[in-house]
Symmetry: C2
């Protein structure tokens, strides 16, 4: 097995994702002007998670509508933009599609940058500060220089190795898909998310195939009564179970700290599988054709 | 391997789910009165899929708000009901929680009944007719009496046996979770759904674990440019790929026909695994404690 405390393990990181991860806080575009309220945000691709997490409505008749264009769209986004422009609201296009007003280049870590821009553009500097504090707090323990015994992201990566992760976050359900995306894009690996009725799924969905197939590793992201119930149900049904506590002064900071922890975990898992955690040329081609 | 064309295979169906599946169309409560518009619907558990599919807004200041209470709620639904009652809208509670006005008992097939009630209660009999027609059309080919060569649900169940299904439906993404729920609840088995950026996930998420673990079977539900792209991407990456065409006069009918086809498929898969496709006592206990 590869050793995350040895330098040669890091040679597969050809694009230097570790540096981007380490220096993430404070990166990304800042608003150059004041955007009139009320604010709304609609996102897809890399921008979707931030739009949901911001708590902004996804449509507004007046004020400013931020259109976060962070992925392929197959014409859908163009449709949204057109629709948006029929309203009274000013439409600000953010992302990496042609003609955007605010540019955020493609990256598996872009969700942070979309969120940061949204928080700054809507005057919520206080909330951004709490997010950044939570991320900096996490960073102290997650970098390559911190050995596995003191590094929860390295430790979790070892737990997930050769297992099929199953993510559950009653704190903010869209986090599950965001983490599934991180694991696909960074660790190049498969993971599971439950349907809306998650507890029922845990209770009855693991029976027929329980003895065969991949060993499952459940990862409970954040607190909640539902997480405690899930733990009780899953304990006897999965091969490994990890609880990731949420740190942060508010829900937004907690969710982002969990997301950041899982980004580091996906990074280490890529190294353990011996694959480059950086972005794939294939993704660029997908963006071009769609 | 068990044979779906032999009677003894059906002995594990102790609760007679085949009958409920066959006779589904036209079951469930009908509105006893006219509900003033505008209409809104908010659902969770078994009611969530119908609420989303109905296309109704999830909140209304006036008219009628249908609260579809089809699952455990951990206090959330009580909160929603309370919140709803602070508005001007009349709140109609539908489902199996204590004190509901319209009763729909728990069943893996309840989503149809919630949708039927909503369509009738909002005066969309025409749409319901198209849904029912699509389901009756499906039913002709899906029952136990139709042999496997002519029965696409039986055929698909054989394809999914001993594989990990991966569902994708660009036509209506919430269908994926609804089908994942059907497979858990009826087939007692595990399946996968992609995150919002599904094509990226398909492109890079299957690499590290490609050679190991369960063989994947991708199931593309319904049409669309994204489904065609997904097919192209997945063909070389999964062990089996099935395309399920959508029949029906409109999107709602198409989605429900796909859902119904997958309910039959989950039923047959349960039989192939030798497990009772009926509901689990454990679910009832979960409902009691939550």
């Amino acid at each position: 097995m590869r050793d995350l405390d040895r330098e040669e393990t890091y040679l597969v990181d050809r694009t230097g994702l570790a540096l981007e991860l380490r220096d993430l806080v404070g990166t990304g575009p800042v608003p150059g002007e004041a955007y009139p309220g009320p604010h709304a945000a609609l996102g897809y691709g890399e921008g979707q998670f931030a739009a949901l997490l911001s708590g902004l409505p996804d449509w507004g008749e007046e004020g400013t509508l931020f259109l976060l264009e962070g992925g392929y769209d197959l014409g859908e986004a163009a449709g949204m933009a057109l629709l948006a422009e029929t309203g009274q609201a000013r439409v600000v296009r953010v992302g990496f599609r042609p003609g955007v007003e605010v540019h955020i280049p493609p990256s598996p870590l872009a969700p942070y940058r979309y969120l940061r821009f949204l928080l700054l553009a809507t005057g919520r500097e206080e909330v951004l500060r709490s997010v950044d504090e939570a991320l900096l707090e996490e960073r102290r323990r997650l970098g390559p220089e911190v050995p596995v015994e003191e590094n929860p992201a390295k430790f979790l990566a070892y737990t997930l190795l050769e297992r099929l992760p199953l993510f559950y976050s009653p704190l903010f359900r869209p986090l599950e898909g965001a983490v599934q995306t991180l694991f696909a894009r960074v660790a190049k690996s498969l993971s599971l998310t439950p349907p809306p009725s998650a507890l029922e799924f845990f209770l009855v969905g693991l029976e027929a195939r329980h003895e065969q197939g991949d060993p499952l590793a459940a990862v409970l992201l954040g607190p909640g009564e539902e997480a405690a119930l899930a733990k009780e149900i899953l304990e006897s049904r999965v091969d490994a179970l990890a609880e990731v506590p949420a740190t942060g002064a508010n829900r937004l900071a907690q969710v982002m700290a969990l997301w950041y922890r899982m980004a580091w975990t996906a990074y280490y898992l890529a190294l353990l599988y011996g694959v480059d955690p950086g972005d794939h040329g294939l993704l660029e081609r997908l963006r071009e054709v769609t």
